[in-house]
């Protein structure tokens, strides 16, 4: 784990959170914090509610019970204006990039810039070019989402997510659908973005190589018990965490010398 200064302050505090769709409870009693400047992973098996948790954190879904605090402020208690100010500090990269298909890549990045600031065209264009260059897409501004590959769409989505220099960057399955090399490059990019922007990064993923490469801390959601099983450094969890976490982090096998038992 890399050492970084000022990583003690809590940016997010999740308190006794229960997530539910109508009568169906997805997860309950979630309690963890995300600290400033860290890369925090939400991990767990498919369908355990990772993306739902991310949607709760960005305020798209209201908690069934419990609370989510962002910089000490309860999301649920915030007025519409306060919520808008909070959201303005978030950048989100959705699974498929979620680019607006009727706009070119430049226009996709330009829209939030123009909406949330009063900068001139020339300056906005410079910023758009910078964001595209940062994700390695310099020169592709005139292309439409339908004209680029899935990996490029993801990077363009990242360029849009960082358009307003967010304080918190959320990634929903950033490696999904990418080859190992592109996936590794994206991990490197996330790391550099965090270091350059000084942003806090929250990533939903079950990609183990990414988790071990760039995570500072992680929370593990267990679909069977519908509760979090562990929070902390995933490299330590792999060795000393609860059985189901070690089972997951060791790709379905407990480390040699440890007692095997059926977890399925």
């Amino acid at each position: 784990m890399r050492e970084r200064g000022g990583m003690q302050e809590d940016v997010f505090k999740i308190e006794n959170l229960t997530m539910a769709y109508d009568d169906y409870t997805v997860m309950q009693d979630l309690n963890f914090t995300v600290k400033r400047g860290e890369i925090f992973f939400i991990m767990g098996g498919s369908g355990c509610g990772k993306s739902t948790l991310l949607r709760h954190m960005i305020g798209l879904i209201h908690p069934a019970k419990g609370a989510i605090y962002y910089n000490g402020k309860n999301f649920s208690d915030a007025t519409a204006e306060q919520k808008q100010d909070m959201l303005r500090e978030f950048g989100v990269l959705y699974q498929g990039g979620a680019l607006w298909s009727s706009m070119s890549l430049s226009e996709n990045i330009m829209l939030p810039l123009k909406e949330f600031s009063n900068i001139g065209d020339a300056e906005a264009e410079d910023l758009v070019n910078l964001k595209l260059s940062l994700v390695g897409l310099g020169g592709f501004g005139g292309f439409y989402p339908s004209e680029i590959s899935g990996g490029m769409a993801k990077r363009a989505g990242l360029a849009r997510a960082i358009a307003l220099d967010p304080k918190v960057l959320f990634f929903d399955e950033p490696s999904a659908g990418l080859d190992p090399v592109s996936s590794h490059r994206l991990d490197e990019l996330i790391l550099q973005m965090r270091d350059c922007l000084g942003a806090t990064v929250v990533i939903v993923s079950h990609e183990l190589s990414s988790i071990f490469d760039i995570a500072d801390r992680a929370v593990f959601l267990d679909a069977k018990t519908k509760r979090q099983t562990a929070v902390g450094d995933p490299r330590l969890m792999r060795e000393t965490g609860p059985d189901e976490v070690r089972f997951f982090l060791n790709r379905g096998a407990l480390p040699a010398g440890q007692k095997e038992k059926s977890l399925i």
């Binding site: 001139g120 300056e123 410079d126 070019n129 020169g139 005139g142 220099d165």
Partner: protein, 382 residues
């Protein structure tokens, strides 16, 4: 001390000034450089850059908060200076700025810029003509595929689920009754209103029943069902199949060797061709009722007189012309809706365009077909 935007306070004016001594340029950066704040524009600095700069260095002791605005300004100036072959001394810049600049230039800008070529009139006409020809070919090929699928169905070899057909019939038939009833009632009402005012001048209000009955049965019933169903069901077909294409569901059918024409298009066409005549008969009856409301309610015509005139004015041939036309209209709406959906571009805006084209083309072709029918019926004196 320089700090990223996450620690910013109230923004002060961001300034950048250039000092020269020999070939050396020193860019002094001070104040806050944050999005939306006031600061020196990069083009102002570039305008002041003299020729022959050999080395560019920076002085940032008075730099306040900053975000990408500073990086974007620096990147523009560095690119400008580097194009003249000058060296850049990054040492005095904050580490995060240097690493972000490094990231921005890590991948060279692709030579992928799109040039918008001005297309002259002759070329535009040519391109449009080629598109029309290729679209016509696609339509013919689509009709060919549908015909083959229909022949397979008749031989009992088409892969089509009965439950799908029933569901589409339900959606495009019974569920369309309320809107068809409303529109045809109002059309009957309008026809009666306009007609009876003119007929009243000659004291022959009673013939409003003939006018409404014949107009609804021969023309307006089928036409109104066509228009309503183009907007309602034809558009739904285009959007549904278009979204399936974007989600690669159509490709998934093809990879399993299942023809999407048989599985998706055929039940939709059959459903509409079956439902259109029934909806047309329904529209005819409701339209006549609309006429009756005006005839009986506003003029001195009794219910019995109105209904007996309506029955006397109509015959099986007239009813058949309207119902027969409606079968063709159903075929037009279903085929155009499905074809637009299947030919949709792989984007959400493509789905929107397919839906719009489906409605516009369906209505246009319904009117063209109706005109052709009018000519044919006149020639054969039907």
């Amino acid at each position: 001390m320089a700090m990223p935007i996450s620690q910013q306070n109230a923004a002060s004016l961001g300034e950048a000034t250039l000092d020269f001594s020999g070939g050396d340029a020193l860019l002094r950066i001070s104040g806050d450089w944050i999005l939306g704040g006031s600061h020196t524009l990069s083009k102002e600095i570039i305008e002041k850059l003299p020729d022959g700069v050999k080395r560019l260095s920076f002085e940032v002791s008075a730099l306040g908060s900053y975000d990408s605005t500073l990086i974007s300004m620096l990147l523009r100036i560095i690119k400008q200076v580097q194009s003249g072959g000058a060296d850049i001394d990054f040492r005095s810049l904050p580490d995060s700025v240097v690493s972000m600049l490094g990231l921005a230039v890590a991948v060279p800008e692709a030579d992928a810029k799109k040039t918008s070529k001005r297309i002259d009139f002759v070329n535009r006409v040519g391109v449009r003509a080629i598109n029309i020809i290729s679209n016509t070919k696609d339509y013919i090929s689509f009709f060919g595929d549908v015909t083959i699928a229909f022949c397979k169905l008749l031989c009992g070899r088409a892969r089509m689920r009965g439950s799908d057909l029933m569901m589409i019939i339900q959606r495009s038939g019974p569920e369309a009754l309320p809107i068809v009833a409303l529109i045809s009632f109002l059309v009957g009402l309008i026809l009666a209103f306009v007609g009876s005012i003119q007929l009243a001048k000659y004291g022959s209000e009673i013939f409003v029943a003939d006018l409404v009955g014949i107009a609804m049965v021969r023309e307006m019933g089928a036409m109104m069902v066509g228009v309503v169903m183009s907007g309602r069901t034809g558009a739904a077909f285009a959007a549904e199949l278009g979204s399936m294409k974007v989600n690669e569901e159509i490709s998934a059918f093809k990879t399993f060797g299942i023809s999407p024409i048989e599985f998706l298009v055929l039940p939709r066409i059959i459903a509409l061709v079956l439902m259109f005549p029934l909806l047309t008969i329904f529209a005819d009856v409701i339209g006549a009722l609309g006429g009756l409301v005006i005839g009986v309610g506003m003029f001195d015509v009794s219910y019995e007189q109105y209904s007996s005139r309506t029955v006397a004015a109509l015959n099986l041939v007239q009813i058949s012309t309207g119902v027969g036309k409606s079968i063709i209209f159903g075929l037009i709406v279903a085929c155009i809706g499905c074809r637009m959906g299947m030919a949709c571009q792989n984007s959400s805006s493509g789905v929107g365009r397919a839906t719009t084209s489906s409605v516009v083309q369906s209505i246009t072709w319904i009117i063209v077909a109706d005109a052709i029918f009018a000519v044919i019926f006149t020639i054969f004196d039907i």
